[in-house]
């Protein structure tokens, strides 16, 4: 069948190669057999116990009727046990856990919640970054900037995770989507936990109420998005943000976290377009501050969280990208990072030049230009390496990293 799909995506596919194949079986026994053979490492234990305990917490605290909750969990269990669905849903476990916790967190009783801080974020912002950057950017507003800010914050942010997932699935190496689900889910999960443990007021609060103390009876504000509602003649953002259950979830900014995570994955898979992805993150940062939804310190918390989780995922989960290949079906094998092999400081026993040098050898002065150059001698010991040959090896040696 020479349909466009096989013409475009399967043209480079190596014969008899099944790394990119998807599971189509509906037989639960297959999954059960896999579970029996599975030997979890310590990190797997930590992963499943952590996510499992949050799922259990959600199961107990969510105010929905018990029958609903049991039915829902049974449904999830079924999705996990059927191989065809399990390959997507089970790998999305961190995302499902985050979503479950997020929708439950609005039902936490007010008297059990930690106190809301109003001054911490503007104070830390001024101390670390010199001023309230949100104030700086929101000083002058106009309709053009409003629209420019609304696009990434109010529109792209909600669609981007799905678009990125689809593109990574098709054009990235096989299993990259698993890594994306892991990193994206954990980042949001940690973010929501932090927002609940440390409720803090966003910049619009300071504009509306100054540094007055806050309480959970207060309504949220759409900040700069109110101008978009006005412009488009709708009431969407004002209603959504006024009744939002996470009014004081300014720290960390998950808008920033998501954008950074998406950009990091795209930069990883499509390094040629790096400037474009960096520009998107910068655009989104500007818009969150311009719309007075976040301080710069919130954005940093979100991005740093994303970056650290991405780095961990990159070295432990992600397959290595071959930029010369077109899509997932072009790959013949899946290779992962070898942390010790990619270490630029690692001594390679096969490399004759990597023998440690004495300090004496390193002790030359850069300014001694009139000194005659030392030519390598046959009689030099193994520790005496000529500088020119050492550098020439550098250019060869690094390729192995």
């Amino acid at each position: 069948m020479a349909n466009p799909f096989s013409r475009w995506f399967l043209s480079e596919r190596p014969p008899n190669c099944h790394v990119a194949d998807l599971e189509t079986s509906l037989d639960p026994n297959k999954t059960l057999l896999k579970v029996q053979k599975y030997k979890p490492a310590l990190s797997d234990w930590v992963h499943y116990i952590f996510l499992g305990s949050i799922m259990l917490f959600v199961f107990i605290t969510n105010p929905a009727p018990w029958s609903f909750k049991i039915l829902f969990y049974c449904f999830l269990g079924t999705l996990f046990i059927i191989p065809a669905t399990s390959q997507f849903f089970f790998n999305a476990l961190p995302i499902l856990t985050w979503v479950a916790l997020y929708f439950t967190s609005s039902y936490f009783p007010d008297d059990r919640r930690p106190p809301i801080t109003v001054k911490v974020l503007p104070a830390v912002e001024t101390i670390l970054y010199g001023d309230n950057l949100s104030d700086i950017l929101a000083t002058s507003t106009n309709s053009f900037l409003d629209i420019l800010a609304w696009l990434p914050y109010g529109l792209f942010h909600f669609g981007a995770p799905f678009v990125v997932a689809a593109i990574l699935f098709v054009f990235g190496p096989p299993t990259v989507l698993q890594g994306y689900a892991f990193a994206f889910g954990y980042m949001n999960l940690f973010g929501v936990i932090m927002q609940n443990v440390f409720p803090a007021a966003p910049p619009w609060y300071k504009i509306l109420y100054g540094l007055q103390s806050a309480n959970y009876d207060m309504h949220g504000s759409p900040g700069g998005l109110a101008r978009i509602d006005e412009l488009l003649g709708i009431h969407m953002y004002t209603t959504a943000f006024s009744n939002s259950s996470v009014i004081f979830g300014a720290f960390p900014s998950l808008h920033s976290g998501c954008a950074t995570m998406e950009a990091l994955f795209f930069c990883y898979c499509f390094p040629k377009l790096k400037p474009l992805f960096i520009a998107y993150v910068c655009w989104l940062w500007w818009s969150t501050m311009y719309l007075t939804h976040h301080y710069f310190v919130d954005l940093m918390a979100g991005s740093v969280l994303s970056y650290v989780i991405f780095q961990y995922t990159k070295y432990t989960h992600l397959p290595i990208v071959d930029t010369s290949l077109f899509c997932r079906w072009s790959y013949t094998s899946i290779e992962k990072y070898d942390i010790s092999k990619s270490d630029p400081l690692a001594a390679d026993s096969n490399d004759i030049e990597s023998v440690p040098l004495s300090n004496l050898e390193l002790d030359f002065d850069l300014n001694m230009t009139d000194e005659p150059s030392v030519s390598p001698s046959l009689f030099d010991g193994s520790t005496s390496v000529s500088r020119s040959s050492a550098t020439s090896i550098t250019s060869l040696g690094v390729k192995r990293a």
Binding site: P115, K119, V120, G130, D131, T139, S140, D343, A346, L366
Partner: protein, 221 residues
């Protein structure tokens, strides 16, 4: 000097190779240094900035450019560049300590004046607040107390500074390892290359790298 060297961490958090740490250190620093770019946008928005803010933002942009190169070359490091980054990061740590102190005093003087205004406006809202208290006596418990706000502010500031010092040691340790590694020896001819026909900023840049390399070699070797 030797006693100082002994204290340099040989791995990140005790178990990760240094290059992973440097990648994280530089990434986090670069993200934070973006603040400079947004600060400078005050030029277009008309928000007033004082002299120290200008210095802080311009300095951030400068360090952003230098650190970015390091992140780009982390898998094939070059001793001259990393010496420069290490020296600049150390200088930046000193600057950060100074800026932190400076802006802390700025914030608290600002807050004192703003607090006065806020308490006046609070008086006019007194009636409505009283009504709220009658309805829900626990409402005041939902907001953080002054001391809680202060302690969290101080905690975040101190934690970020402590991380900074640790990150600085990590970078120094990485440069030290590079200095000891035969693969990364600096070739004298490379350094002494003819820069006469290059633009002045390139010459200055090469000169600064050389200076930083010498400094690192003296301090860390």
């Amino acid at each position: 000097m030797r006693s100082f060297l002994l204290t340099l961490p040989k791995s990140f958090l005790g178990f990760m190779p240094l290059y992973l740490a440097v990648e994280i250190v530089l990434g986090i620093s670069i993200l934070n240094k973006c603040s400079g770019v947004y600060g400078i946008l005050a030029l277009f928005t008309g928000h007033p900035l004082d002299f120290m803010q200008w210095v802080a933002y311009l300095w951030s942009v400068f360090t952003l450019i230098i650190f970015s190169q390091g992140l780009y070359l982390i898998h094939k490091p070059n001793l001259l560049l990393f010496s420069q980054i290490c020296a600049l990061y150390t200088l930046d740590t000193l600057f950060t300590c100074f800026f932190t102190l400076w802006f802390t005093t700025q914030w608290f003087t600002l807050e004192d004046t703003a607090g006065g205004v806020a308490s006046q406006s609070n008086n006019s809202n007194l009636i409505s607040t009283e009504r709220l208290t009658v309805r829900n006596t626990d409402i005041s418990k939902q907001s953080a107390t002054e001391s809680y706000e202060y302690s969290i502010t101080i905690l975040i500031t101190l934690v970020s500074l402590i991380f900074r010092f640790y990150f600085n040691l990590i970078l120094a340790s990485f440069v030290q390892e590079l200095l000891h590694h035969p693969k990364y020896l600096v070739d004298r001819d490379d350094v002494e290359q003819n820069l006469k026909n290059k633009p002045i900023w390139k010459r200055l840049y090469a000169k600064s790298q050389k200076g930083c390399y010498k400094l690192c070699k003296n301090l860390l070797n």
